[in-house]
C-alpha cells in the first residue's frame, strides 16, 4: 500500500472559528498542535503520579510530524496560507515547536506555566483551545492521532468541542476543497469518509503521509522565525482549572512491571516447532 497524500486545496474566503472580525477576511491559517514527549526509545518513568518530562530525553511526538506534514503540504498545494505550530508544556517543550519551524512552519507558540504541570488531557485541551483563540483563531487545526506518552487520543476531540468546531479525527487521507474538508479513516471494524465545513479540526494518522526532514535551509530559516511564549495569565485562564489542581483523575500508584520470569530461548536444530508445541500444551495455552 502506498502512503497517499491527497491534497487538493482551494481555500474559500471565510471567517475563522474565532477572532476574525466581519469584513476583514484574514489569510488562511492552520494551527498544528504538537506535543513534547519522553522519547519512546528511552527509559520512561513516572514519579509522584506524573510522567517525568524533564529527564532530557524529550522529543517532538513522532505522530505530530504527520500533522505538520499535512498542514505544510496543504499550504503548499494552495499556494497561500500560514502554519502556526503550537505546544503546551514545560520549558523543554520549546524544542518541539522549533522542530516544527525547521520543517517549515511560519511561527511558533509555546504556552508554559508552572500551574500547567500535572494537567490531564482535558485541561491540556482547554489551554490549547484558549491559545488558538488568543492567536486569532484558525481555519483548520491539525493534530497528531495520539501522544506517544499517554496514548489517550483525547485531546483532539476535546479541543474541537471547546472551540466549537467539527472534529474529523484519524485521517489517513485528507482533502480540502473550497471550504469543505474530507477525511478517510480506518477504524477497528469499518472505514469511513467524513466531511465537514471549515473551520474544523482534523487529527492525522501515521498513514497520512511521509513527514519531511528539516533540511539545512529550513534549519537556518527557523532561527529567524518568531517563537511567542505565553502564560495562563496571557490566555486569561484560571489556574485552578488546569494542572494538578484541575485534574479529574489522580494516579495513586505506578510501578515498573516486573520482568517476565522463566523465559526460554531455544535455537532451532530441527525440532523447535515440536518443542514449542509441547510448551504451549504444557502451559495450557492451546
Amino acid at each position: 500500500m502506498t502512503r497517499s497524500i491527497v491534497v487538493r486545496v482551494r481555500w474559500a474566503n471565510r471567517p475563522r472559528c474565532t477572532g476574525a472580525s466581519e469584513g476583514n477576511v484574514p489569510d488562511v491559517k492552520i494551527v498544528v498542535c504538537v506535543k513534547h514527549v519522553p522519547d519512546i526509545q528511552s527509559d520512561r518513568q513516572i514519579a509522584d503520579g506524573r510522567t517525568v518530562r524533564d529527564g532530557g530525553d524529550g522529543t517532538l511526538n513522532e505522530l505530530d510530524e504527520n500533522a505538520l506534514e499535512s498542514a505544510l503540504s496543504l499550504v503548499e498545494a494552495a499556494g497561500e496560507g500560514e502554519v502556526v505550530v503550537l505546544t503546551v508544556g514545560p520549558d523543554d517543550a520549546v524544542d518541539a515547536v522549533r522542530k516544527g519551524l525547521q520543517m517549515g512552519a511560519d511561527e511558533a507558540v509555546h504556552v508554559v506555566d508552572e500551574a500547567i504541570a500535572g494537567s490531564d488531557a482535558i485541561a491540556t485541551a482547554r489551554v490549547l483551545a484558549a491559545a488558538i483563540t488568543h492567536v486569532g483563531g484558525a481555519d483548520l487545526v491539525v493534530t497528531g492521532m495520539a501522544g506517544l506518552d499517554g496514548l489517550t487520543s483525547l485531546v483532539p476531540a476535546a479541543v474541537a468541542a471547546l472551540l466549537d468546531v467539527p472534529a474529523l479525527p484519524l485521517a489517513a487521507q485528507l482533502e480540502v476543497t473550497g471550504s469543505t474538508v474530507r477525511v478517510t479513516r480506518h477504524l477497528d471494524h469499518a472505514s469511513e469518509v467524513l466531511e465537514a465545513q471549515l473551520p474544523a479540526l482534523v487529527s492525522v494518522t501515521d498513514q497520512a503521509n511521509e513527514p519531511r526532514y528539516p533540511n539545512f535551509k529550513g534549519i537556518m530559516a527557523a532561527r529567524k522565525k518568531p517563537v511567542t511564549t505565553l502564560t495562563l495569565a496571557d490566555l486569561g485562564l484560571d489556574a485552578t482549572l488546569v494542572g494538578a489542581a484541575g485534574a479529574r483523575t489522580e494516579v495513586l500508584e505506578a510501578a515498573p512491571r516486573p520482568a517476565r520470569e522463566d523465559r526460554v530461548l531455544v535455537t532451532d536444530t530441527g525440532d523447535a516447532g515440536v518443542r514449542l508445541a509441547a510448551y504451549l500444551v504444557e502451559n495450557q495455552l492451546v
Binding site: 496514548l151 485531546v155 469511513e192 467524513l194 465537514a196 535455537t267 523447535a272
Partner: protein, 325 residues
C-alpha cells in the same frame, strides 16, 4: 448506589461485539444498582440473541438512543449519552477502548466534567471512589488511577476480565431514548461507511490467541494463517507488513494500530520494535520466532525460538494438529 451505563458496541446485524461481555461483567461488581446498556440505534437493532445474552449477563435495561441526527458521529452520540446520564441518574459509563470511543469520551468529558481513563484493564470501587488499573509506556509500567469527579467514563481494553454470567438471568427492558442533536454536533457528515467483512477468524482486538507476522514473512502469510486456524486465533501484523500491502491495515498491531492483550501472542519474523511492542507487550504469554538471536522481541518473549519461520511455523502447526488428534 446509582446505576451504571455500558455502551453496547455492536455489528451492523445487531450482534454484540465480544468485549462488551467483559464490560457488563465488570459493571455488575461496581454497583448494587442496575446495569443499563446503551444501544446507539445506528440502523442496527439489538438481535434476539444479543438481548438474551445481555439478560444472562445481568443487564436490566437497554436504552436505544435514537435521533434525527446520525448517531454514528461521536459528537452526536455524546449528546444522547449526556441525556441518558441525566435521565437515569447513572454516574459511570463503561465502553470498549477504541478510537471512536475515545472521541466519544472526549466530548463527554467536555460536556459533563467527567474524568476519563482510557485503556483500562481493571476496575474497582474503593470507599466509593472508582479506581482504575492500566498499563502504560508500552506495557512496561502498571498504574492505578482514582477518578475524582462525580461522572466517570472508563474505556476498557479487551481481554481484561473473564466473562461470567449474572447469578440470575433477567429479561432486559428495552426502551427508547430519543434526542435532538445540536446543530453543532451534526456538522460532521458520514459520507461513506464500509464495515469490514467478517474473516471467519476471531476479531483481532479481542482474540485470545494472536499469530503475528512481520517483514520476515516476506509477504507470505499462508503458514501463519494455518497456524492461527489450528489455534482458533486471529492473524495480526507489523506496520511493515501492512505498509507492504501483504495484509490489510486493520491487522496492524502497535501504537498506531490495534492494542491487544491476548492470552497468547506468537510473533514470527517480527523484530519487536518499540512501536510494535506498545500494542502487544501486555499479552499473557509471548512467543517469538526469529532468525536473529539479537532481535529485541526476545527480550520480552516467554518462549523464543532462534530459527527460520518457514520451517518452524509449519512444524509447530503439524505438531499441534497431531496432538489434537
Amino acid at each position: 448506589m446509582s446505576d451504571i451505563l455500558v455502551l453496547l458496541d455492536h455489528t451492523s446485524t445487531g450482534a454484540l461485539r465480544t468485549p462488551v461481555r467483559e464490560l457488563v461483567t465488570l459493571a455488575r461488581d461496581l454497583t448494587d444498582g442496575g446495569v443499563h446498556g446503551v444501544w446507539a440505534a445506528d440502523g442496527a437493532e439489538p438481535s434476539a440473541d444479543a438481548l438474551t445474552e445481555l439478560g444472562e449477563l445481568g443487564v436490566t435495561h437497554v436504552h436505544r438512543l435514537t435521533s434525527d441526527a446520525d448517531v454514528r458521529v461521536p459528537a452526536v452520540l455524546a449528546e444522547g449519552v449526556v441525556g441518558l446520564l441525566d435521565a437515569t441518574g447513572a454516574r459511570t459509563l463503561l465502553a470498549v477502548s477504541s478510537f471512536e470511543n475515545k472521541e466519544l469520551a472526549a466530548y463527554l468529558a467536555v460536556a459533563t466534567g467527567a474524568g476519563v481513563v482510557t485503556d483500562a484493564d481493571a476496575l474497582e470501587r474503593v470507599d466509593g471512589t472508582l479506581v482504575v488499573g492500566k498499563t502504560v509506556f508500552a506495557g512496561t509500567w502498571t498504574t492505578r488511577t482514582a477518578v475524582r469527579t462525580p461522572v466517570a467514563v472508563v474505556l476498557v481494553k479487551a481481554n481484561s476480565v473473564v466473562v461470567s454470567p449474572a447469578p440470575a438471568a433477567v429479561a432486559p427492558q428495552v426502551g427508547e431514548h430519543a434526542f435532538t442533536a445540536s446543530a453543532g454536533a451534526s456538522r460532521v457528515r458520514v459520507v461513506e461507511r464500509t464495515e469490514r467483512p467478517a474473516t471467519g477468524r476471531p476479531d483481532l482486538g479481542s482474540a485470545h490467541i494472536v499469530v503475528t507476522g512481520g517483514r520476515g514473512t516476506e509477504g507470505d502469510f499462508t503458514a501463519l494463517e494455518e497456524l492461527a486456524d489450528v489455534l482458533g486465533g486471529a492473524v495480526g501484523a507489523t506496520r511493515v507488513a501492512t505498509d507492504e500491502g501483504w495484509i490489510g491495515h486493520d491487522a496492524q498491531i502497535g501504537q498506531t494500530g490495534v492494542t491487544i492483550s491476548p492470552r497468547l501472542y506468537i510473533g514470527a519474523g517480527v523484530s519487536g520494535a518499540v512501536h510494535h511492542r506498545g500494542g502487544m507487550q501486555a499479552s499473557g504469554t509471548i512467543v517469538a520466532i526469529n532468525t536473529d538471536p539479537d532481535a529485541p522481541i526476545f527480550e520480552i518473549a516467554d518462549f523464543g525460538v532462534v530459527g527460520d519461520l518457514t520451517t518452524v511455523v509449519p512444524q509447530l502447526t503439524a505438531e499441534l494438529r497431531r496432538l489434537k488428534g
